[in-house]
Amino acid sequence: MAERLSLSELNGAVKKVLATNFTAPVWVVGEISEINIHSNGHCYLTLIEKGESEDRIVAQARATIWSYTFRMLRPFFETTTGQQLTDGIKVLLQVSVEFHEMYGFSLNVRNIDPTYTLGDQALKRREIIRRLTEDGVLTMNKELELPLVPQKIAIISSPSAAGYEDFMEQLTNNGNGYKFYTKLFPAVMQGNQAEQSIVEALDRIYPYEDFFDVVVIIRGGGSQVDLSCFDNYNIAYHITQFPLPVLSGIGHEKDDSIADLVAHTRLKTPTAVAEFILDGVAAFEDRINLMQQETISLVENRLEEEKNLLEDLTGELSKLVRDQLGNKKRELMQRTWRFQQEIKLTLQNSEHRLGKKLQKAGFLVDRIFYVHRQKIEKARNMIHVTIPGSLQGKREQMDHYLLKFRHLSVRGIGNEIHRIELAGQKAMLSDPANILKKGYSITTVRGILVKDIALLKSDEVMNTRFSDGAVLSKIIEIKQSDKNDS
């Protein structure tokens, strides 16, 4: 019959074997599937190993970090990796293998190597980036145009997060008095629920894409932060596809998460996000103020220029007019002077010529006078010599003629008077009144003086004028006398 062992003897034997074989601590890689921090400060973990397909657990073990160790290991791990010691991450632990008769197999965690987790995380990150790049979406949110004034802001954050309060405080109490319109879309910002919660928040903002200018993803600052949930393909993908620019203020000094990487603008803290927005708005206001000032000064310069130009033109014009007037005046004076000179010269010339001519004429006249005087002298001399005798004869002849003329004249005038008297008598005799008085009469028919009997017709009325009246008579018979009788 085989030897029987009590349970405690068996467990004690196992413990002995393990203790013999694992005298020193060993480094072991495992994924934390569960983590519980007890109120007494001890930390209890469940470590697992997954198979190739990642859906099957091929090994599992319990591990404990005693409070004394945990107090040191936890901050060391978290500050180095930038993430919490939490479930779902792979860790490299230095453990001593222990076996307790009562509690069985367990690993006592002595130390942790954060660089392993970092490396694993980096690997995961590289994988996500590779996928986003392959999908062609990595920089899509960055390509969106940031509004000049992001005034309407959709915020994804945890309402209780200190970072959210910092952000709101900074924004609403800004020194420039800018007005902002904010709306919080609450989300869980860490742990395994973060992925779904953040994606849902983005989906809730989506219907209001026309209303909001920008989306801000923020969470509390400090070093106690877990960035790992932001190294998530799903969150990153949704950010890249969002139609509004996403500003991240997830808050880690050292590393950028994938969410930071794909966001339009990555800022370190929520306060920095608020400052970024405020700076943008201030820059806008500065720009419009500057443009206004520039316009005013340009317009002032322009007006000044125009004024100067006008003054210059006026000055030039009046100078031109003055110059022209001066020139014309000078020209006129010169011309007048020249004219005067010319007239003077012409006059002088004419005078000179006239003088010459006068002189010449004088000579000529003198000569003619002289010649004629000579001739007259000559003639006088001749008269004195020849005339006296003939002159006497001529006088006698003249006297004779005079006598004869007088005689003839007297006779001639007497004849003329006689002739005029005769003519007067003749005229007296031929006056019709005198003739009528002598017994003649004047007969007219149809106003025509009847000199010829052929003019008359029987039964015609005839007017016969006498010296003392007139008779109207009708012709009874016409008797033409022979021509011989007349």
Binding site: P147, L148, V149, Q151, K152, G177, Y178, K179, Y181, K183, Y208, F211, V281, F284, E285, R287, I288, N289, M291, Q292, E294, T295, I296, L298, V299, R302, L303, E306
Partner: protein
Amino acid sequence: MTVKKGLSYKEAIGEIEDILKQIENDEPDVDQLSEKVKRLSVLVTWCREKLHQTEEEIEKILKEIEKS
């Protein structure tokens, strides 16, 4: 002179820039200058008011989003 309804900051600053450019290039004559300056000042004032003053209309929309 007022701005059209629904004017954006981008459109406003675009118009301001245009006016400035025109004035820089001496395009408007002296008579047009005052019109241009007036328009610019209306736009700048509009921008400033929008930056600093609360618009009830936007607050209303914000409240409606709140309810949903």
